[in-house]
């Protein structure tokens, strides 16, 4: 199911910059409403996926406020398209992404950032040359988690964009469909094996990646 990979990859690619930004704000800034933001980010983790999907439909559907605006101004339609599947997957994986990045941000030695600033680096440079490289393992781990979540996302996706073959039918919903049809067991099994293969590959890739980064930091 190439569609699933495309959906998951798009979801991660778009949520990554936003995830880093939100994680940075949550880790470094103190402001009124921080708890609310933190709660909102983690909500998809706790809510039943169907509820998240329904909320997405309400806001990003063609009749939804945001959805209507985006369609009118950018010609961007989410509902019942693969882009919607990606949005749903991204939202569901977002808490895992932010959590992982925030934890590694919290662990960064701020004194190194101070040292960089005394050497003439402005805050943006400090982030790009010191903070970012130091949290790369956390970003990679978060991205892998979010990717895995996106691959397996079912509840929010099916509620938001339904289960249209070739457009919004992801690996998970395809397996579900085959199990509902008599004689679909073989096809379901085949997809299950594919799913196991992809997940395994992702896990190994993340392991190798983080080990290499740890070695670079001299912490191995």
């Amino acid at each position: 199911m190439l569609l699933s990979l495309k959906v998951a990859a798009t979801a991660v690619a778009f949520s990554l910059p936003l995830g880093i930004a939100i994680a940075y704000i949550l880790s470094r800034r103190d402001f009124w409403g921080k708890t609310v933001l933190n709660g909102a980010v983690h909500l998809p983790l706790i809510l039943p996926p169907v509820v998240t999907g329904y909320l997405l439909l309400l806001t990003f559907g063609r009749k939804g406020t945001v959805g209507a605006f985006l369609e009118q101004w950018f010609g961007l339609v989410f509902s019942f398209r693969w882009t919607g599947a990606a949005l749903a997957a991204g939202v569901m994986g977002f808490p895992l992404l932010v959590r992982s990045i925030r934890l590694s941000l919290d662990a960064v030695d701020r004194r190194l950032e101070t040292a960089a600033s005394t050497l003439g680096a402005n805050p943006v440079w400090v982030f790009a040359t010191v903070t970012l490289p130091l949290i790369l393992p956390g970003i990679a781990a978060g991205a892998v988690l979010a990717f895995a979540k996106a691959m397996g996302e079912f509840g929010a996706t099916i509620t938001f964009v339904s289960n249209i073959p070739g457009e919004t039918q992801t690996l998970a919903s395809a397996i579900y469909t085959y199990t509902q049809v008599p004689g679909g067991e073989t096809a379901a099994m085949r997809l299950t094996l594919v799913s196991i293969g992809i997940s395994f590959a992702a896990l190994i890739a993340s392991e190798v990646l983080s080990r290499r980064m740890a070695a670079r930091l001299g912490a191995a």
């Binding site: 030695d109 005394t118 050497l119 003439g120 680096a121 010191v130 670079r216 930091l217 001299g218």
Partner: protein, 363 residues
Amino acid sequence: MTLTINVEHRQGAFDLAVDLAIGSGLTALFGPSGSGKTTLVNLVAGLIRPNKGRIAFDGEVWVDNAANRRFVPPHRRRIGYVFQEGRLFPHMTVRGNLHYGARFAPRGGEPGETLERVVDLLRIGPLLDRRPALLSGGEKQRVAFGRALMAKPRLLLMDEPLSALDNDLKAAILPDIERMRDEAGIPILYVSHSIEEVTRLATRVIVMDGGKTVAIGRPDEVLNVVPAATGALKAGSFLHAVVTGHSPDEGLTFAESRAGPLFLRATDIPVGAHIRAFVPTSEVVLATSLPDGISTLNRLKGTVEEIGDAGSVIMVSIDCNGDRVLAEITRRSAANLGLVQGMPVNLLFKTVSIAAEGIYRTS
């Protein structure tokens, strides 16, 4: 190139209030822990903002809370800051760390030339391609010095850069700092609570205590007598002498002080050089007559100049033909000896009681 600091700053229950002008050379901020040395340096670096006051360097105002609330952030001050714990970037090689400093330095001069000079100055050539995790403490600190220098700073700040190192490493790096002081030609503000470091390195000393400056002057003026043994500070006094010879077999260096011959640990200071030796107050034994059969090699003559009450002990100041030496003795000893002002007395102290880094050349 003058740094003027006139600030008041409150941090928790601690108050700092100083009014200083710091010129070229190495100015040491000296005092016990908690006296405000690091806070002062962080104010100069721009890592903290003072509650009130003004900091200016070379005609450029860095902080002014009075009129326009001016505050120049650290990255625009063009300083070099060497921290106690090095703070090398773990994700870069030594070369990467050095280049990081140079990246923001103003153009002019060959950049490669600077790297070469810094590497030469600090003897870090073989380390260039290593990562900080694989360096020893002394190597890390030398790289940290190099990184600060690569930024072509106008002012170098050093916050106890040697305190995390053992004595051998310290002795190995002290000449590097001396070279930076003499060759780099930029003002250095050096925080320390080690009297050995300060007397050896400083061209000027600012003694701090409780957030205030207590004394300012040349090291031999300010520190000739260090009266208070507070916390990590070792109280002591200096003896001037001229090296007269060496005896490598015995591990000794001979010197002649104004009050008599000195026997010191072996040094490589040439014969004829003037030296100063730091004698801790607690190591000096006073005797009214010279005892026989005692291992102590150093026996000087002096007269009691002053007898001071230092709380639980008595601090006796002895004039050794121009050098003032302090001895810390108990009340009972003072009574047993019958010490009075003007009385002749013998001073005894062991060769090994003078630390190797307490002996240094003055000419």
